[in-house]
Amino acid sequence: MMVFLGKKLFRLIVVILAVTAITFLMVNFLPGDIAITTAGFGASLEDVEAIREDLGLNKNIVLRYTLWLFDAAQGRLGQSFLTDEPVLEAISQRLPVTIELMIISQMFALMLAIPFGIISAYKSGTNIDKTINTLAFSVMSIPTFVMALLLIFAFSLKVNWLPATGYVPFSEGFWLNIKSFLLPGFSIALVEWGYLMRILRSDMISTLQEDYILMAKSKGLPTVYILFKHALRPSCFTLITILGIQVGHLIGGAVIVENIFALPGIGSLLIAAIYGRDYTVVQGCILFITIAYVMINFFVDILYSILDPRIRFQNRT
């Protein structure tokens, strides 16, 4: 286990170094001069020089990367050129919204995927199974932003049950807060449950062929009891991994949903910074999202190897 952990940790560090280097380099290969871009229209030559000095652009690139890395490691990501807000503060302010969206959307996705996956596996090969699968396959072909628009069209414009956009902070009431997350959450969940359901279904089908399920059946236990108590847990391993990876994706992948529903999360911070060409914020966001993504994948790997010890020995063969 220690060797496995050590290997994984080493890889994690290499990946983080590579990711930061690439993020850093991308800014430096920006077409045009960053100092001039930042100074904006009508800036004098002295202004540009001052900014260049300020950003340290006249130093050696390796030195600059090292300095930047140390700064970043201490959470000094610079400040926004547009609002003067420190980047780290902006990110940490937006993080709760993104996390709440993540939790709610995953909950909805599981609420759909688990029952449908179980029914589909239990009735595998029948028309019910085929219908559920066709449905899952179809929703997987709908882009999330289209799903978001369809939901807005149906639930905000046609029946006016839920707000189309806007975010209500938690302090203004639990129900109002949840309500503002319903449509965004469902936009993600309605697309994603298809993947999760197909994974659960295929694992569940192999579980249902195990002897102990036959045993449980022959004892005369009720079917629902067998499905949920005996079959569900051993069929969940792959589902948990995929869920973990999905959560990693959502840190940045919810960009579009946050944008459509005007939720002030990290995604919309990034998009706004891209539109405003606010390059410190873009860099900070990308760095944060990427590192969060890498870390989550790391922990999912570890968790998975604890759940399923075979994984740990896979690389030795």
């Binding site: 290969f29 396959f137 882009p143 932003f145 289209v146 414009l157 998009i271 990308i286 993504y293």
Partner: protein
């Protein structure tokens, strides 16, 4: 996903998707020769016209005489009075270009890297797979946003960036399949007959790994069309006035209440296209039934 609900015998979904793909591709290629309106002509008298609107306009012809010109907006017009039907057809080009070019890049480079790694093993394999792991470690959509931010939007940058992102997955598929065949009897036989390494890879191994890779490529086409849609929707993909489905949906989003069809038509077309490619990919994967196809 080991077993799937699609039978190996082509069913209705198979014929539906192949028909749709052929139709869309043909239309995209022939768009210039079809009797269509101009995609960037703005008819300010008729913005958000509902589908099937007929317009008669007085224009001067070459001889200075006044004639009536009749136009039918088959699927209506968008917020700037541009014909939706025409724009949908021209938008097909962008979606298909990106949807097809990106998997082809992945197929070629991933195929070469994967075969080399699986054939020679050793250091080459270690270095190559480590590099691929680093690329895979990036969250895709964020990297895309970063690249379009730093390099500027445009179809060429988009294809290159997406291409780099998909190479690792193809490398893995190619490597896993090469490993299966590298030690087989027919490869050993070819070697004994004096076949060079390159020859073995091209004539013995390549034909065997091509189908699983093609299955993966097809699955990716739909995904790439969606990614292009997202970027264009955010205004970071193809730039106006060139029509793209994502851009059209973004345009329709603003008037979802009064004229929902502006966003719904391109959404529906995009859905049908993505679904068709997904169904085809699924069918092909079941045909070969290799687990590597899922990587």
């Amino acid at each position: 996903m080991a077993e799937s609900f699609h039978k190996k015998i082509p069913g209705i979904s198979f014929w539906f998707s192949i028909t749709w793909i052929i139709l869309v591709t043909t239309i995209a290629i022939c768009a210039d020769f079809l009797p269509l309106l101009e995609y960037d002509h703005m008819d300010w008298d008729n913005p958000e016209a509902s589908p099937g609107t007929c317009v008669e306009k007085q224009v001067n012809d070459n001889n200075g005489e006044q004639i009536y010109q009749k136009k039918i907006y088959l699927l209506g017009t968008d917020t700037m009075g541009r014909d939706i039907f025409t724009r949908l057809i021209f938008g097909t080009r962008i979606s298909l270009t990106i949807g097809l070019a990106v998997p082809v890049i992945g197929l070629i480079f991933g195929g070469i890297f994967g075969m080399l790694a699986g054939f020679y093993r050793g250091k080459i394999e270690t270095v190559m797979m480590a590099t691929m792991d680093i690329i895979l470690a990036f969250p895709g959509i964020v990297l895309m946003l970063a690249i379009t931010f730093y390099l500027g939007p445009g179809i060429k940058n988009l294809v290159i960036a997406l291409g780099i992102l998909v190479i690792p997955a193809f490398t893995r598929v190619a490597r896993a399949n090469t490993l299966k065949f590298a030690q087989s009897e027919f490869v050993q036989a070819a070697r004994m007959m004096g076949q060079k390494d390159v020859g073995i890879m091209i004539f013995e191994i390549l034909p065997n790994i091509l189908i699983p890779m093609a299955a993966y490529a097809l699955m990716l086409v739909g995904y790439m069309i969606m990614v292009e849609g997202v970027l264009s929707f955010l205004g970071l993909g193809v730039q106006a006035p060139v029509p793209s489905w994502g851009g059209m949906i973004a345009d329709g989003k603003e008037v979802l209440d009064q004229a929902p069809f502006i966003a719904l038509f391109p959404s529906f077309i995009m859905f049908l296209t993505v679904l068709s490619f997904n169904l085809m990919g699924d069918y092909l994967r079941n045909l070969v039934d290799t687990k590597e196809g899922q990587l």
